[in-house]
Every structure is written in C-alpha cells, then in structure tokens.
Amino acid sequence: MNPQDLQYSKEHEWLRVAGDIGTVGITDHAQSELGDVIFVEFPQVGAKVEAGKTLGSIESVKAVSEIFSPISGEVLEVNKDLLNTPEAVNADPYGKGWLVRIRIEKPPAGLMTADQYA
C-alpha cells in the first residue's frame, strides 16, 4: 500500500513534505520493477534541483534507472546509509529507503495523491 500522507509523481517517486523540507524516494511499484537495488548515485549536497529533472540514478542488478526530482529546491542531505545497504530501497521504500532531502523552493505541482497514483 502506498502511504496516504505522501505525494506521487508519474515517474514513480514519492515526496513527503514537512514544513519546507521534502523527502524523496521511489515507490514500492518502482522498486519492484527494478529488482535488487545495488547502488544509488546521489546528487551533491547543496546542488539545486528542478522538478522533473534528474536527481541521480539507481542501479539494480538488471538495469539502471534515473531518479527524477518531484520538487524544485536545494539538496540538503542524501541517504548515505544506502551506500552500504542499498537493499533498503527494496525492503523499505517509504522508510529506510528514502533517497534525498530537499529544501523546497517552489510548491510541488502536478503530483498525485496515493489514490490517484494507485
């Protein structure tokens, strides 16, 4: 089940908003399509990212997939734990498998609710 409190992009990323901080990850559907995740390529902390543009990439055994930012802003933090435990993206995509925290500069647009995404 996709959590109700998140917003979803059509490229299968999720966004959790708390104040002006947005946390980004990939959805359960996305991790399931990718299969075993083994490496996440992050943006630089401090980099400006734009909604709809590449934020990094996720490598699974079978393929590489780009991560598109669901929001515009500045990268505050990346989930460094994933460098040692990339499988958390598969096991816990909405929790320990989070990817990036962004300081939101523009309100999100064009995202879906859990019901719309499902």
Partner: protein
Amino acid sequence: MPVEYSGIAKEHTAIRTAAGLFDVSHMGEFEVTGPEALHLIQYVTSNDASHLTDGQAQYSALTTPEGTAVDDLLVYRHSQDRFMLVVNAANIESDLEWIQTHNTVGARIEDISQKTGLLALQGPRAAEILQPLTELTLSRLPSYHFASGEVLGIDALVSRTGYTGEDGFELYFPASESERLWTGLLKAGEPHGLLPAGLGARNTLRLEAKLLLYGNDLDRTTTLLEAGLGWIVKLDKGDFIGRESLAGQKAEGVKRKLSGLVMLGRDIARDHYPVYVKGAEVSHVTSGSPSITLKQNIGLTYLPVEHTAPGTKLEVSVRGRACEAEVVRTPFYKRKDS
C-alpha cells in the same frame, strides 16, 4: 521465461550454493538424421563431431565463410546416424535455413523445437535433487554426456550440461509435460533450497563463468578466434565452412580479443557502454553487469590485442562519465571442483 521470480541476486546465489530451475523451452532443437548426418554437421560446424560417442554432447558453432558465428550450439550424438542440435531461440529460423542451404549431402533435418520442452536444473545440489526422481544413475553421467530415461515418470533426455558454470542437468522432454515436470522438480527440490530462476540470473551466472551470449558477445561480425573459442575450431578435421578464414586468422594472429574487465569504482558497466584506452574509444561492452558472486562489476569487451594484458587500464563511459576499469583474466568465476 520471466526475468526473475524471487529476485536475481537470490536466484543467482541459490544456484551457486544449492540449486535453481530454469524453463528454457524456448531454445531450439533440430534432429539431424540419416547416413550423411555426421557429414553435414562436420561441414556446418567448427568443432569435430566425429570424435563423439553415443550419448556424448559437444559445444560448437555454426560458422560463416569468414569464420564468424551464425550461432553457437550444442551437438548431441544419439547414434552414428542420429544427432540433435540445440540452438539459440532467436536463431531457430535462420539456423535452419543456413543448415538446409548447405545440406548438399541429403541429411534429414527436422525442427523439433515446438514439441520439445527443456528445463535446466543447475547448482551443486542438482544431482542430489534429481537422483531420487530418475532410474538413471547420475554418478555415471559425466559432464557433456547424456542418457535417456524417465524423470518423474516422464520420458526425458538427461544431459549433464548447463549455462551457469555449476554442475547441473538439462532435461529434454515432450513439451506437453512441461508443467508437470516443472512443478514436480520444484517440489522435490524445495527442501534442498531449489528456487525457480529467470533470465536475469541466467545472464549474471553465465557472464561470471564467461559463457558467451549470442547476439552480445558473439555474432556474424566476430570470428570464433576473436571470441576466444579457438578450442572449438578444429582446423584438421577436414573441410568446413569458414575453415580457410579461420586458418588464415590463426596463422596471422587475431587483431582483437574478447576480454574481461572489472570496474575499479562502484559504477556498473552495462551492455553497449563505450570503452576507452588512454582517452581513445577502442570498443564497447558486449555484456556488462554486477557480479553477484564476486561483488564486483564485470564486463566483456573486444579489445585490440595490444591492450589485452591483465592489469591494462581502461575507461568505461558510464552515461558520459569516464570510469576506471581494468583488464582481468577470465572466467571471472570458476567453481572449486572443476
């Protein structure tokens, strides 16, 4: 055949440590029969099938006059006038046409792909799983040998071959029995850790063992000698298609060779990524993947011979970034008892 059942890494590891089952019924099978069967096979393939005994199989290739590969295949000898060729699924039609075109000796060729099922039971525990289900004595079946007998009451040809770098069996049987055999084997193997396995694990396993994939590592633009398949080129067996070209290339030496590479960082080389030596593009990755067993990122590429020494530094362009890699000896993985 799906890409994965329970996950590529899990299936891969099961086959390296216990066992896995692939449904590879999509592969093609031809029966070549008649007094001239061997004659035809000797002419269209590069290896020497005249040394085969009844119940023995051999890896070989269909060659063009240029010594490149129409396909790679297995040749099974049932008897002196009855053989089976097992070919890649994507090449069934073109192989059949190729063989028929060169069948000037009047051998009979029948495409039995549709009516033949094929399951591959692979892994160190494969024999242990299969033995109680068959009347055949598997300990008397060496590598690259086969025998006919019942498996779970189904008439099968049991062949000690595979595409994973592990011990294992390939079972050929009437396609109508596919589901019964698949279900029965999985059930019998479950206590031994047997898992159903998909195309993803099949690729990572075969790449670690440097078993070539036709269409990626081998095709009509690559000669068998460039591909490192000199061991299946028997120039002294008599005339065969491509013999002259291969003899010439052997005498002169090949200009490029299929080589193994390991990425030095965490980036993953994928199929088709460009390969550079000292900033100059020299090749591309023919097969690239994470190695589940070695926990390294590995690949194959055709390199100019002067750059093939183990330790030679390469760069692989990973989505525009030059990432360091190094030439290594192959196979990447070899099982301990082989």
